[in-house]
Every structure is written in structure tokens, then in C-alpha cells.
């Protein structure tokens, strides 16, 4: 599944939030969307969710206009892990994951063995099969996030869109989740906060600043120290990762990095 955004702009309350964004995710590619808070990442993703209609531009899935599809047809092509997963009282994890099968079902149709198998497989994938019969409200934030990912997987769509999927997860679970989604062979578009994770996992990064594309391309070509400092206002260093030896982005606040400020602070504090 190929995803193309061509000249996409989006407004909230008539205020432009995203302007003229063009990006492409080729089949099987992992495209990371990065940018400071308020740069328009979530708003841009909402246009791909079909929860916010673009004010200009077009979004295509394999040459088909996403916004001209019927809801179920769109659900056949793309699954979503939204940022704010709400835990609703009274639903078990298995019931939440089963909702991902919606597009496969007619109204009043019962769950088939194929649906049950898809639910079980999805829960196993995210390591939550033990929780199938647990109520969502009894799970921790990270566990809920895994269940919501399982719901997206149960949808069996070739394109997966994720809005900060590693939120709420401990550091081990973050890396496992990124390993997992990368291993699925799906086309991925994910908003990520961690530049180092974006560099390590994504094939392409698209950097948003003030709703516009500030840079795009392979991570290490785009995320140079000078570019990171310009967009995020932090000092950055790209060097070999101490464990893996692969390129690694380390960042630091310009304030803590300044010896002069630290010394001044100590002198004034003392």
C-alpha cells in the first residue's frame, strides 16, 4: 500500500494548522513524522484518519482518493492507533480487539472462527493474550496501548498510522513495539517524539515546523546537528551508538551544555 499526500492543508476553527504538506510512503516503508509540539503532526494525521477533511490537497492510497472512499473501504486500507485511547468501562480486552474486525462484518453477523483467530493472534502479537478476558479499566496505561495496537492489527490493513505509539510505554516496551511494527511488513506512518528512535527505525523522516515540511528524506541526511538545533532548539550530536555502533542522535539542552551558565548558576546559588 502506497500513501501519497499531495499539497495537504488543514484548518481547525478556520485557523490553518497544516499547510501544503506533500509526502510519500512507499509500500513497506516506515515514515516517521517528527516536529516540535504544536507543529501540526496530529492534525496532519487526522486528515489521514478521515476525522478532519483537508482544506486543500489530496490524500491517495494506491492512487485512490482516501476522502472519496466509503468508511468501510477506507478501513480495509488503513488501520490507526490514535494518541488518546480511552478505556471504556465494561469492555474486555478481547472485545476491544474484536471491534477491529468491524469492516469484515455485516450488521448482526456473529463472530466467525476467523475473527476469533484474528483477535487471538493480534493479542498474542502484542503479548497480551493473557488479558483477553480482563476489563480494559483494570489494565495499566501501557497495557491498554498494547491492546489498542492489537485492535489495529486485527483490522488486517496494509497501512498502519500511529500517533506517538510509544507514549505511556516503558523504555523496553517502546523498543519492542517499534521492533514489532517494523516487522509486520506494513506501510507505516508514525508521529514520533524521540529523534533517536526515528533515526533508528524509520526509512524516511518528515519534519514539520509550524505546519509546513521543514525537511524530509532518509533520517541521517535530514537530522543533522545544525538542523535539529534550528528546529527543536537543542544541541545535538550524531555519533556511533555505544552499544550497537549504528548512528545515534544524542540531544542536550543548550542551557545545561553551557559551562559558563552552570558556573554562573553555582556562584549565584552559593
Amino acid at each position: 500500500m502506497r500513501l501519497d499526500l499531495a499539497g495537504v492543508s488543514a484548518c481547525i476553527d478556520a485557523r490553518p494548522i497544516v499547510e501544503d504538506v506533500t509526502l510519500t510512503a512507499r509500500p513497506g516503508q516506515f515514515v516517521a513524522l517528527i516536529g516540535p509540539n504544536g507543529s501540526g503532526k496530529s492534525t496532519l494525521l487526522r486528515t489521514v484518519y478521515r476525522s478532519l477533511r483537508p482544506s486543500a490537497g489530496v490524500i491517495r492510497l494506491d492512487e485512490q482518493d482516501l476522502w472519496r472512499m466509503r468508511p468501510r473501504q477506507a478501513a480495509r486500507h488503513r488501520a490507526i492507533l490514535p494518541q488518546h485511547g480511552q478505556a471504556v468501562e465494561g469492555f474486555s480486552a478481547a472485545e476491544v480487539v474484536a471491534a477491529g474486525r468491524h469492516r469484515h462484518k455485516r450488521p448482526l453477523e456473529r463472530e466467525t472462527p476467523a475473527d476469533q483467530a484474528a483477535v487471538t493472534t493480534a493479542l498474542e502479537r502484542v503479548g497480551m493474550d493473557w488479558a483477553a478476558d480482563r476489563l480494559m479499566t483494570t489494565l495499566s496505561g501501557g497495557e491498554r496501548q498494547r491492546v489498542l495496537l492489537a485492535r489495529a492489527l486485527a483490522q488486517e490493513a496494509p497501512l498502519l498510522i500511529l500517533d506517538e505509539p510509544t507514549n505511556h510505554l516503558d523504555v523496553g516496551s517502546q523498543l519492542h513495539l517499534l521492533d514489532l511494527i517494523r516487522s509486520l511488513g506494513l506501510t507505516l506512518l508514525a508521529a514520533l517524539h524521540d529523534l533517536d528512535q526515528a533515526a533508528a527505525y524509520a526509512d524516511q523522516v518528515v519534519v514539520l515546523r509550524d505546519g509546513r515540511v521543514a525537511g524530509h528524506g532518509p533520517p541521517l541526511e535530514v537530522l543533522t546537528p545544525a538542523f535539529i538545533e534550528e528546529v527543536f532548539g537543542v544541541r545535538a550530536h550524531v555519533g556511533p551508538h555505544p552499544i550497537t555502533g549504528r548512528p545515534h542522535i544524542a540531544v542536550a539542552s543548550p542551557v545545561t551544555m553551557s559551562d559558563e551558565l552552570i558556573t554562573t548558576g553555582i556562584r549565584e546559588g552559593g
Partner: protein, 365 residues
Amino acid sequence: MTDTLTLPPRTRPAPSRRPHLISGPATGLLLAALVAGLVAALVVGISIGSVNLPLAQVWGVVWAHVTGRGAQADPLLSQVVWEIRTPRALLAALAGAGLSVAGVALQALVRNPLADPYVLGVSSAASLGAVLVPALGSTALAGAFGVTGAAFAAAMLSALLVYLLSQRSGRLLDSWLVLTGVAVGYLCAAATTFVQLQLNPTELQGMMFWLMGSVAGASWPDLGVPALLIVACMAWLALQARALNALMAGEEAAIAIGVPVAALRIGLLVAGSLLTATVVSVVGGIGFIGLMIPHMVRFVVGADHRRVLPVSLLTGALFLVLVDLAARTADRPNELPVGIFTTGLGVPFFLWLLRRRAKGGGDAA
């Protein structure tokens, strides 16, 4: 596809019990039990009333009317059983069912556990419509509609107003829905109070009974429209059950899995306000049922709408038939307002369920 990974399992002790008190095949048994209970309650409701009548004669009358043959009993007895008790018991069942289903629909629409059928101001508007009839005199409104028609018209107008005020380019915003609904409700309540002050005491007395809610005075013609609407709305909602489950988890999640969210929410608003307006215009503002029955049902069968909808429908019907029975018989031959019993019986049961669920480890995280 490359070799796929799985996240390492978070090993935790397996749960010893099912997630819901009643799930799976037991739901069928529960539904059967509720149908049996409802039939039994209707039988008792028709057999017992503020005056004692011999059971054999009571059912002789019912049998004669249902089959269209058999000996005609004493006309007074026939009148009491067939024209008063039977439609009253049936109306209680319909009203209870309608309010519960409306509660389910509107709780899914506004995704707020405090939502009830009256959250959109429909009940206050119906009251306003009803008091306007005697206030304006029988010539203007009442001639065309009667009190019931005026109440229904006012209720639907308020729902339309709330819809218009809480949508932006066709999309409903849930927080606005609740706030505009409450605001419109207060406005109608204030207007009702003002109109009531203009009425004379005799007109007011009839009104008060209606404002508090009552199934007394039910007649056969009252039953047709509510019955039809309940069947139609329930059928539509049953078709949407899966989509409603998805909607509860959030708008984006529902869109993601292919639910036409905007259309679904407008449908919910229409179904919820039609049901509420119909019930309120016939029996007045009976509280509690539409709020609490859906919650109670979720405590027992979980939140899956494929179970919540039919179980709520039957539980609401059963509950109001029993409550009306209590209201008629607790202080014979006087009748107490049904609202005293809906809350008096319902609240303790609701709190017991709530505590019981908390003890079972319902909430954590």
C-alpha cells in the same frame, strides 16, 4: 512479509473469572428469564389493582377480549380490567423499555455516563408543551394536537434546537450537546414554571400529576405510536450495535475501523429524542430509568451493545411494570406517584450493584 515479531508477554496471573457477571451463552438465558419475568409482571399487574376483583373474572374478561368470544362479564368489571388495567400495564412496559433504550442511545451519543434521555432538554420541553395547552386555551394548540401532541411537538423542537446549536458543519460535538441540552432544558423549565403560575388551581392539579410522571389514565390508543417507534428505533439500534461499541472508544477509533461516525451520531440523536419525546408526551417525566437501567445492565453483561440493547429494553419494561404495581398497591386505594418508587426501589439496587462491582476488582489502573 519478513519474520514477524511479537512483544514479550507481560506475565500476570490469569483471571479466575469471566470479565462480566453474565456473558456468552448465559446472556440468552438472561433474556429468556427477563421475558418470563415481564410476562409474569404483566399478569400480576393486570390481576391486582386498587380494588380487589376475583382473579377468574379478571382473566375471563381478558380472554373474552383477546379471543373475541366468551361470556361478557359485568360491564363495570370489564371496563376496569380491559380499559384501565391492561393498557396501563402495557404502557408501563412500553415506557420503561423506551426510556431505557433512549438512555443507551444517548449515553453512546454524548459518551457521558451522566447522560439520560432528558440530557437534551427533551423532557422539560415536553412539559412546557403540555402546560401551554391549558394556558393558551383549548382553541389554539389543543384543538389540533391535544396535550400529548403538543408535548411531543415541543420535545422534538427542543431536540432540533439542541442539534442546530451543537453542530458545526454537520458534525456534532459531544461536550456542546450536553451543555446546550442542559441549557435548553433549564430555559424550558423556567418557562413552564412561569406558565404554571398563570393557570388556575384545578388546571394545575392535572398538570402536576403529568409533570411528575404517571402511567395512570392509559388507554389503548396511547399504545400504538410508542410501540411502533420502540420497535423501529430498537431495530435500527440493533443494526448499529457493533458501531456503537466502536463509538464508545472514541470518535477517531470508530472512524479508523470504518464506522460512518457523523451519520451514526445524527441517527442516535434522532432515535434518542424520538423515543424520549414519545414516552414523555404519554407518561410525563419519569426519571431515573433512562439513566440507571443502562448502567445496571452494563454492570451485569458488560458494555457490548449487542447485549446491552436487548437486556436494557426488557429490564426497563419489567422495572416500570413492577414499580407501577407498587405505586398502585402500596397505599390502596390511594395512588402514589410512580417517581417515588422508581427512585426508592432503584437507587438502593443501583448502589448495591455499584459496590458489588467495585469489590470484584472492577476499577484499577
